[in-house]
């Protein structure tokens, strides 16, 4: 179900492949979502190129998925960056991947400040470490939490962490 890329993006894709040979793995599209799949080692450079040369000034969304139980998946984690060209209203999704044992990617906070909390959330939920992130802490879960709950192998009802509190009775306090 592949749609045509508009000429501008086609030219951009060619420029990216010329600049980073072999790093633009493929282009796919589905219902108007246009996607570049890129190699993780050059993902940061490609995103920088897209920002400076391609005009994609805004990072709308950044998140990840764990493809552990996904049919025919080769890599464990997929990370997507939804970019937006504010002046022309064009959208582009850049997808890259990461793998166990230590999933690592380069942080894009230096390109878009908006990525800061989104990357922290991905780190919190999936344990993907973003290199050069200014402040990579857990964001939603308590600091002392162990595990990454959105991974597919984490049980939905948790591992007992929601029961671990003192019980107050009526007579105290």
């Amino acid at each position: 179900m592949s749609e045509e890329f508009p000429p501008v993006l086609q030219a951009l894709a060619e420029a990216v492949s010329a600049e980073f040979p072999g790093r633009l793995l493929s282009r796919t599209s589905f219902r108007g979502n246009l996607r570049f799949h890129v190699c993780p080692d050059k993902a940061h450079e490609i995103l920088k190129y897209l920002k400076t040369r391609g005009g994609f000034g805004m990072l709308v969304e950044l998140s990840a998925a764990d493809y552990l139980q996904y049919p025919d998946a080769e890599d464990r984690y997929g990370v997507w960056y939804c970019l937006l060209d504010v002046e022309n209203g064009r959208r582009l999704i850049v997808k890259t991947k990461a793998n166990d044992p230590d999933p690592t990617l380069d942080s894009v906070v230096d390109l878009w400040e908006g990525a800061n909390w989104m990357e922290r959330e991905v780190y919190d939920m999936y344990g993907i470490v973003f290199r050069n992130h200014p402040d990579l802490r857990r964001i939603l879960l308590p600091d002392e939490f162990v595990g990454h709950p959105l991974r597919r192998d984490y049980p939905m009802r948790g591992k007992g962490e929601r029961h671990n509190f003192p019980v107050l009775t009526r007579a105290e306090g």
């Binding site: 179900m1 219902r31 979502n33 998925a65 939804c82 939920m125 802490r137 964001i139």
Partner: protein, 408 residues
């Protein structure tokens, strides 16, 4: 690896030697946070030197639930995400699901969804404006705003049976059609709304205290708005004129005549004014939609086996019953393509998108929400630095942070 909070709270290096700086904990239980946020403020006297927002006090695992509930069930959960404009979330969720499944909605359904999105915009902006005014001491505006919200709740209740979390949309359609009584109620609502809005405007727009506490507070420039992924009214108040209703028209938005409201200043006052003006535009859209409401079915064609059949055909015909059964059996349900899709709508708060990864079953493999509140709250430190403590309340109020959407 993980830094300790204590390391980060330390002020920037150039002021570190100033040992008179002190730390104040704002929240998680504080009236101006409305719900549950915590901000650790580093103060020089009463001037904010640095602030560390600490969130997650309402993290309830929405996205994990999204991987276990099917496309129609998850709508009840999505409702509870941005609880001051519930139907807007439902519409956004089912917009993504329908994009994935490739369903075209009927014109009537599109119009009704437009009406509900705009009602929810009123719902949201009323609470945002009313509560922001409440935090600044203007209690009357809050009462006026809530009076109107009650009326919208009644509309919800009449249409769907629940006043607060209606769960009104379904894949390819709606829970049920609206009736003439509802339309009459809506007309009455539209008629009285402008004067109620004028009351709120009159209470705030020339209110000296309100103006002094919001003008030139928390300024966000256009460049910073782009850099920090800001969308919605907050972005439009900074001159970043983007509105998905105009730029990427979904539903039936291209049929309507309305303006995108924007401002240049980017301060709290501009954000308040943009919201007030947007309510006027919403009322315009609602009246156009209700006057031109197309007739016909609300659910997309039943042949595609994706939309729930209506109640009558389930009870009276064998085809309807089988069809209903098929959508509810755990091993049948929908057969979406094994693909992923990102689709966004303009929710009252900004761009609300869902990224759905589908593995070919009726349940999303990954249901990621793109929450505007998270992006907007990340702005807080940038906006608050250099202001005094008393200005935390107007900044928070103008960003309209919804904790459940922030933490999911």
């Amino acid at each position: 690896m993980a830094l300790k909070l204590a390391d980060v709270i330390a002020p920037p290096a150039d002021v570190r030697e100033k040992d008179y700086l002190w730390t104040l904990n704002f929240g998680p239980q504080h009236p101006a946070t409305h719900t549950t946020l915590r901000i650790v403020l580093n103060l020089d006297g009463e001037v904010i030197v640095n602030s560390i927002p600490d969130i997650g006090f309402l993290h309830s695992g929405f996205e994990k639930l999204g991987e276990h509930l099917d496309f129609n069930q998850y709508v009840t959960i999505v409702d509870r995400m941005n609880y001051i404009s519930p139907v807007a979330n439902e519409i956004a969720w089912h917009h993504s699901v329908e994009t994935l499944l490739g369903i075209d909605l009927t014109p009537r359904c599109q119009y009704i969804r437009v009406i509900f999105s705009e009602l929810m915009r009123l719902h949201d902006h009323l609470l945002c404006v009313g509560a922001a005014a409440l935090d600044l001491g203007a209690f009357t505006a809050f009462l006026y705003a809530f009076n109107q919200r009650e009326k919208i709740n009644e509309l919800n209740e009449w249409a769907s049976g629940q006043r607060f979390h209606p769960s009104y949309t379904r894949v390819g359609g709606l829970q049920r059609d609206i009736d003439d009584v509802w339309i009459g109620k809506l007309r009455a609502f539209i008629k009285q709304f402008p004067s109620a809005l004028a009351d709120v405007t009159g209470l705030l727009n020339r209110n000296r205290i309100f103006l002094d506490r919001t003008r030139d507070i928390g300024i966000l420039t256009r460049e910073e708005a782009i850099n920090r992924s800001v969308t919605g009214p907050v972005a439009r108040a900074s001159g970043l004129v983007r509105d998905l209703r105009k730029d990427e028209p979904y539903l039936a938005y291209k049929d309507f005549d309305f303006k995108v409201v924007a401002a240049k200043e980017g301060d709290c006052l501009a954000r308040y004014l943009v919201r007030m003006e947007e309510m006027r535009e919403s009322i315009k859209i609602i009246s156009q939609a209700i006057e031109n409401l197309p007739s016909g079915p609300v659910n997309a064609s039943v042949d595609e086996r994706m939309v729930l059949p209506n109640q009558l055909s389930v009870y009276r015909s064998i085809e309807g019953l089988i069809h209903h059964f098929e959508l509810f059996m755990t091993n049948r349900k929908w057969k979406p393509p094994v693909e992923e899709v990102y689709a966004a709508t303009e929710s009252p708060n900004g761009e609300l998108g869902f990224y759905i990864v589908s593995d070919g079953t009726g349940t999303a493999y990954r249901a990621r929400t793109r929450p505007p509140s998270l992006v907007h709250f990340a702005l807080f430190n940038h906006l608050a630095q250099g202001h005094t403590i008393s200005e935390v309340a107007p900044i928070l109020g103008s960003l309209n942070i919804i904790a459940a959407e922030l933490d999911r």
